[in-house]
């Protein structure tokens, strides 16, 4: 049981460090990188907390959130590069 507390604390520390970079970063790409990292760490945090409390149903939430994180990040990169989300029909 102690090992889950150690893992959850270290993942929380990593999330706080990524938030520092999201506030500081001069370019927009630094902030997108920090957001990607926060998303991945949130997935891991949900998994560890699911094992800590004994409710293993939380793994469904983790799987879904990792899918949404990936799609959100690709959409944000497309928007910052082109100015719109797809090709416009003329």
């Amino acid at each position: 049981m102690l090992m889950f507390y150690v893992a959850a604390t270290s993942v929380l520390i990593t999330i706080i460090l990524a938030m520092i970079r999201a506030m500081l970063g001069p370019t927009v790409f630094d902030r997108v990188l920090a957001l990607n990292m926060i998303g991945t760490k949130t997935v891991l945090l949900i998994c560890v907390i699911g094992f800590l409390t004994g409710r293993t149903d939380f793994l469904d939430l983790a799987l879904l959130y990792s899918l949404m994180n990936f799609i959100g990040m690709v959409a944000l990169l497309r928007f910052s590069e082109f100015g719109s989300f797809g090709q416009e029909k003329s």
Partner: protein, 105 residues
């Protein structure tokens, strides 16, 4: 048997925690965008992989293990793709990496 599984879980969880914190420190302290991208990559692959493998030794029901392996598979597939997309988008918007300009003898 329970003790052996617990010791192996401890080792993998401690390694995963270590790599996550090292990646987090790297993303704060590096001077430039492309080196920070390396810190993010370390966290996404080594930290996440070791943590999930450490959790795999603690399951009591096989369906939970299958779900954990699906999460691991999906993370391994999408983390390199999203890091590559980020680097490519940065290059095409003219973010230049700082190169080492010392002359070689």
């Amino acid at each position: 048997m329970e003790l052996a599984l617990d010791i192996v879980s401890w080792i993998f969880l401690i390694l995963g925690a270590f790599f996550s914190i090292v990646g987090g420190i790297g993303i704060v302290r590096f001077p430039e965008f492309f080196s920070r991208l390396h810190g993010g990559g370390i966290t996404d692959t080594m930290g996440a992989g070791m943590l999930i493998i450490g959790l795999l030794f603690q399951v009591k029901h096989p369906l939970v293990g299958v779900k954990l392996m699906m999460i691991l598979f999906f993370l391994i597939m999408t983390s390199p793709a999203s890091c590559h997309a980020l680097a490519k988008s940065a290059i095409s918007q003219n973010v230049k990496p700082t190169l080492d300009d010392r002359k070689r003898k």
